[in-house]
């Protein structure tokens, strides 16, 4: 705003009416129109977009607009506040038409057998005890792969056996194939299975929408799989919320790890179904399963770091996590599938949609 230095009076006095005129595009030095007699400062302030930190009208909570002194004390450089009101609903409808997917073209998530990584997400089970097959939570695989296993990492749940499975590996021909697979089951409180039983809190009944085990007040469970740099099924660990289930009691190491997983091929990542090459099916039955706050680290999070991520059952702003320097992907699903970290935005298609969590 340009206010001339030859204002009148001793000492010089600014004319508020002329300031308003200047703000509205009429030069300060112009004559004051006869109709410019009364000003309502609340209208001026209330009509302006002054608060870029929030879409809410800047009131004090009691219906009164903040005073100018309040605005002076406002931290205009504060970080955006973290909200967690939404989640993404993966419809039980199948095919790419209803998928939640992105293609990683810049190799951000091209982990191989020797990579350490962590994949963590919140999930609200929608399947019933009659699913009797598996539901895929997340899968990354070579774009346009002939085989599901090509450059693949996936996490799924077998409702028929009550097991979470994490698997990675590669397949380039029908004979050139290998994978490392860990499975954790939750209904047997004995031997190697007792850790999973204690971690999940499902009891002897299988995981479903009617038996969510340890979940927060919204019905969500945080599932985390970590992997060290060792190329083995034993390198993967499961956490149910902050509860460590440890390495998988059921491990399969099929093949030697050759041909190696590519670090340059584009990979297609799908949430809530079994990937493009298998037709984006295995999405559950009965009701949609909800997913929220997916994070991928290029690091094997420790037990204490998973506890920090769990944050006592309240999803945190993962960009403030102590391991955030290794955070490669982070999707909040607050309104869309766009990434907060990485440039890979999920496309949420068809009947899959953002919903209130």
């Amino acid at each position: 705003m340009a206010i001339p230095d030859d204002v009148e009076g001793t000492p010089p006095t600014l004319d508020m009416k002329k300031i308003i005129m200047e703000l509205q595009g009429t030069p300060y030095g112009s004559a004051v129109p006869s109709n410019l007699t009364e000003w309502n400062w609340n209208d001026v302030v209330g009509g302006a977009s002054l608060n870029t930190n929030s879409t809410k009208k800047p009131t004090d909570g009691n219906g009164s607009i903040y005073s100018m002194n309040d605005w002076k004390g406002y931290d205009h450089f504060a970080a955006l506040s973290f909200t967690n009101d939404k989640a993404v609903s993966k419809t039980t409808a199948t095919s790419a038409t209803h998928s939640i997917n992105f293609v990683d073209t810049d190799d951000t998530f091209n982990f191989n057998g020797g990579s350490e990584w962590t994949i963590s997400f919140w999930i609200k089970a929608g399947w019933s005890s009659n699913l009797n097959t598996n539901i895929h939570f997340i899968i990354g695989q070579k774009e346009n792969a002939s085989y599901q296993l090509s450059d693949m990492i996936k996490i799924l749940y077998h409702e028929n056996t009550n097991r979470i499975e994490a698997r990675y590996g590669n397949k380039t021909t029908s004979s050139d194939t290998w994978y490392k697979m860990g499975q954790w089951l939750f209904h047997s409180n004995s031997g190697a299975y007792a850790a999973g039983y204690a971690a999940a809190g499902l009891g002897s009944t299988y995981w479903s929408s009617s038996n969510r085990g340890y979940a927060n007040s919204d019905g969500y469970t945080m599932i985390t799989i970590t992997k060290s740099t060792t190329n083995s099924a034993a390198a993967m660990k499961l956490y149910w919320n902050a509860n460590a289930a440890g390495a998988a009691p059921l491990q399969t190491n099929s093949g030697s790890g050759s041909p190696a997983m590519s670090t340059t091929n584009n990979r297609s990542w799908s949430l809530g179904s079994n990937g493009v090459s298998n037709g984006e099916v295995k999405a559950g039955g009965t009701s949609a399963t909800l997913y929220n706050d997916l994070s991928i680290f290029q690091k094997e999070l420790s037990a204490s770091e998973v506890t920090e991520l769990y944050n006592s059952g309240t999803a945190m702003d993962v960009t403030t996590h102590s391991g955030a320097n290794k955070l490669k992907g982070y999707w909040k699903f607050e309104g869309n599938g766009n990434a907060t970290v990485s440039n890979d935005n999920f496309s949420i298609n068809g009947q899959s949609q953002i919903v209130n969590k």
């Binding site: 039980t92 199948t94 399947w127 019933s128 009659n130 699913l131 009797n132 097959t133 598996n134 539901i135 599901q148 409702e159 028929n160 056996t161 499975q183 089951l185 209904h187 047997s188 299975y193 059921l250 298998n278 099916v281 295995k282 999405a283 559950g284 039955g285 009965t286």
Partner: protein, 86 residues
């Protein structure tokens, strides 16, 4: 490997150590199994792993709750553990 649909009663009599894959029907009255044993008392027998898989896709309402079927990969993986997968 041999692929069968068995009644619950017959399944209880077979050697579980030789069972590679098992899936209960939705109504829990039958079992689809992959086993190295030859079983004569069966509801249905399949020539190949593919015909077995295809049957479950055609009759998915009996075998899975998501309108798909049992994939060949699942049958190949097996994973049956007799002491915990009853």
């Amino acid at each position: 490997m041999n692929y069968y649909i068995l009644t619950e009663e017959v399944f209880e009599t077979i050697d579980k150590d030789n069972v590679h894959f098992m899936r209960k029907s939705i109504d829990r009255t039958e079992r689809l199994v992959a086993t190295t044993d030859l079983i004569s008392d069966r509801v249905r027998s399949f020539q190949t792993i593919n015909t077995c898989s295809n049957y479950t896709f055609t009759n998915h309402a009996d075998w899975v709750g998501d309108k798909t079927g049992i994939e060949v990969e699942e049958l190949e993986e097996g994973g049956y553990i007799s002491e915990i997968d009853d």
